[in-house]
Amino acid sequence: MAVRGSLITVDGLEIAEVARLLRLTSSLEAMAAAEKAKLLAGRKVALLFYESSTRTRTSFELAAKQLGATTTLVSDKSSSIEKGESLKDTGLTLRALGAECIILRHPAGGAPFVLERATGLPVLNAGDGMHQHPSQALLDLRTMISRLGLGERPVDERLLDGVTVTITGDIRHSRVARSNAMLLPRLGAKVLLCGPPELLPEEAATLGEGVEIVRDFDAAMARTGAGPGVAMMLRIQRERLAGLEIDLGKYMERYQLTEERLAGLAPNALVMHPGPMIRGLEIQGEVADHANSAIEEQVAHGLAIRTALLLRALKPEVAA
């Protein structure tokens, strides 16, 4: 059923495939621009966005253009989606217009599977509801490898041995948290999840092998600081709270990553955030701009990873 070249979830994504994608990313990065632009010359990619996006949409679009592909953007506003056209019919329309791959962002979990089944085209999941954001997990992984100096290690189930990744905040509503918590433990990382019960239910611990819930942020940060560590902060997703009331003052007091916490508990930890971040809420402005912060690098790695995903989707024989 799965279409070759699709990437919808990290669940079941083989580690060998992750390794291939990372190698492909690096070789594309090293390639001259003119040569790269030939790889997908004349190929057509559609970006179908039912939710707003800055980073993901722009980087997929730029990645496609770097490879020479033609892109077209369809958003739920200003298209027939507003008139009630189904996801299936929107996909079939894009296919009829020549799209060979669809990049989809959608508020409903599982929507990329609907689109893949309907069109038979490779679908790259650019975030579906609270389900998955697989390219984000891959770019986060590449950022960690680069900043933690792990580039020489083979990409296998021991790659992140000894590394503690603490993901803090609105885990319940986060597709980024799910993708990371499902991928990173399979590469050897210890993943700690931190947040209040209403944003982090107990069943989150079942996402991956050895994933652990630590309610106390200071305790989690102390463990992050004990060895090579990553503090990944998440935004509270107001648009998905569905009536849930969060006391922001209390939240900030308990879970904000401040300079004080960073310096005191994990002075060497890498600070990451998938964006969009709300400075002064989950993360202090100073920490976002701190030397430990890899937030802008994450964006750059996103562009690189997405060139590899597009090549894999449209030229699987080359990507392999």
Binding site: M1, A2, I8, T9, D11, S86, L87, K88, H106, A108, G109, G110, A111, F113, V114, R117, A118, D128, G129, M130, H131, Q132, R175, R178, M182, P201, E203, A204, T206, L207, A242
Partner: protein
């Protein structure tokens, strides 16, 4: 004077305690005689049905089907839905009232039950308990009862208000009828079509909690107890499509206390778990499978096994399909946008014999009881569900050993929304007989 002889089969009629080789004579739509093999050979009959190697059982009874008429005939009609029922061995079905308009008036009920709808099997209806199934104002129970109602329900929606539910139970009890409740506290959990738990979390879907079912069941049992104590009236509560171990425990203890509480379970709840949402279809390759979306949702393996235990120990009174047809385009959408429900009339017997019988040791007689006399007594249609002399001449003849694979494309239902396309079935219907007439041959 129509006559039919069903001969050579193993007659399984739990209500009259028969399980053995018998021949059966049907005359004028009723059971006229049940005798040892060959004893009826001299009788002149219009038709003989050879049943050698097969089980002959009372026609199956389903107290919970959605036939979508009036209002949504693109999904199903009474004619197509009852044709699917006949193919599944059912001879009596009870239609739910969530039609458009809601079946909440005697005129609509009469329209549904009219011969012009061309039901192929016996059709009964459970009209709405409240006007528009809005949960506030009771319908005219007396008029509806006079029009043939076999009980009242707001199926698809719970009656949340304590006072309204109490009044409904009391008024139905005075008419000798049942209140059939869709147990779901919609104030604490979304009707999302997936169980709240690790699978829903992994998929990023909001789940429906176990408490949402249990709380309503527990509340309703308190009301039945209170009515008996205060009013001295024995109210009958029937809990629809039970799906959780916790609600079952409440029913088990209510029964032990002697309260008139019955319940049903659906084949999908004793066959599948919430993992089918993540990886559905017969190859497990349909992710976010909308054909595994129903209300109440598929639960965990622990709940599935509790439902099976409840069926085997008698806590659950009957199997009911909750046959809920939906058009293809309605299910080919994002999981959270898809409607709840699956078809079930043609797969119920095959799943019961495979899962309850082969995999969990239920006898054929036990399964027949759960699908005939059990449900018939919930709606007090005692001429159905058994093959004693004078009962309705409704029978199903099936090969209990036959293994086959269900193909949704061949379904008699107008809709094909089933998670069992390509699934293994045990036991195949050879003939379905209603009132002495063959309505289906397989």
């Amino acid at each position: 004077m129509s006559t039919m002889l069903i001969r050579g089969g193993r007659l399984v009629d739990p209500a009259s305690g028969v399980d053995g080789l018998r021949d059966m004579l049907l005359r004028d739509g009723l059971v006229a005689a049940v005798e040892m093999p060959g004893a009826l050979d001299g009788v002149e009959v219009a038709e003989t049905l050879e049943a050698a190697g097969c089980v002959v059982a009372p026609g199956l009874v389903d107290v919970h089907v959605h036939l979508r008429e009036p209002g949504q005939t693109y999904k199903e009609t009474i004619a197509t839905g009852t044709a699917a029922a006949a193919a599944g061995g059912f001879t009596t079905v009870v239609a739910m009232p969530n039609t458009i308009p809601v079946t909440d008036r005697a005129a609509t009920l009469e329209w549904v039950l009219s011969p012009e709808r061309k039901a192929l099997v016996r059709l009964f209806a459970m009209p709405a308990a409240t006007m528009g199934s809005m949960g506030t104002e009771l319908t005219d129970f007396e008029a509806l009862a006079a029009g043939g109602a076999v009980g009242f329900t707001d199926d698809g929606k719970p009656i949340l208000n304590d006072g309204v539910m109490r009044a409904a139970l009391l008024r139905a009890a005075r008419l000798g009828l049942v209140i059939s409740q869709h147990a779901e506290d919609t104030t604490i959990s979304p009707s999302s079509g997936i169980n709240a738990g690790p699978v829903a979390f992994r998929l990023g879907l909001r789940g429906m909690s176990v408490e949402a079912e249990a709380r309503i069941v527990e509340r309703d049992i308190r009301l039945v107890r209170d009515i008996e104590k205060v009013e001295g009236v024995r109210a009958h509560l029937h809990v629809q499509h039970i799906s959780t171990a916790r609600a079952l425990e409440a029913i088990r203890s209510a029964k032990a206390d002697g309260l008139h509480v019955t319940c049903e379970a659906a084949p999908h709840h004793f066959t599948l778990t919430d993992e089918s949402v993540a990886c559905g279809g017969c190859n497990g390759d349909i992710h976010f499978d909308t054909n595994a979306k129903m209300n109440p949702p598929l639960r965990t393996e622990g709940d599935r096994l509790a439902v099976i235990a409840g069926l085997l120990d008698g806590t659950i009174d009957c199997i009911a399909t909750d046959h809920a047809p939906h058009a293809r385009h309605e299910k080919e959408v994002e999981f959270e946008r898809a409607p709840n429900g699956i078809t079930g009339l043609e797969t119920a017997l095959g799943l019961a014999l495979r899962v309850l019988g082969r995999e969990h040791g239920a006898s054929v007689s036990q399964i027949v009881q759960l699908m005939s006399s059990g449900p018939a007594s919930v709606v007090r249609r005692r001429q159905a569900g058994s093959l004693g002399v004078g009962q309705w001449g409704d029978a199903v003849v099936f090969d209990a050993e036959k293994e086959w694979v269900f193909a949704a494309a061949g379904s008699r239902s107008r809709s094909k929304n089933t998670p069992f396309d390509g699934a293994a079935m045990l036991g195949q219907v050879r003939a379905t007989v209603v009132g002495g007439n063959v309505v289906f041959r397989g």
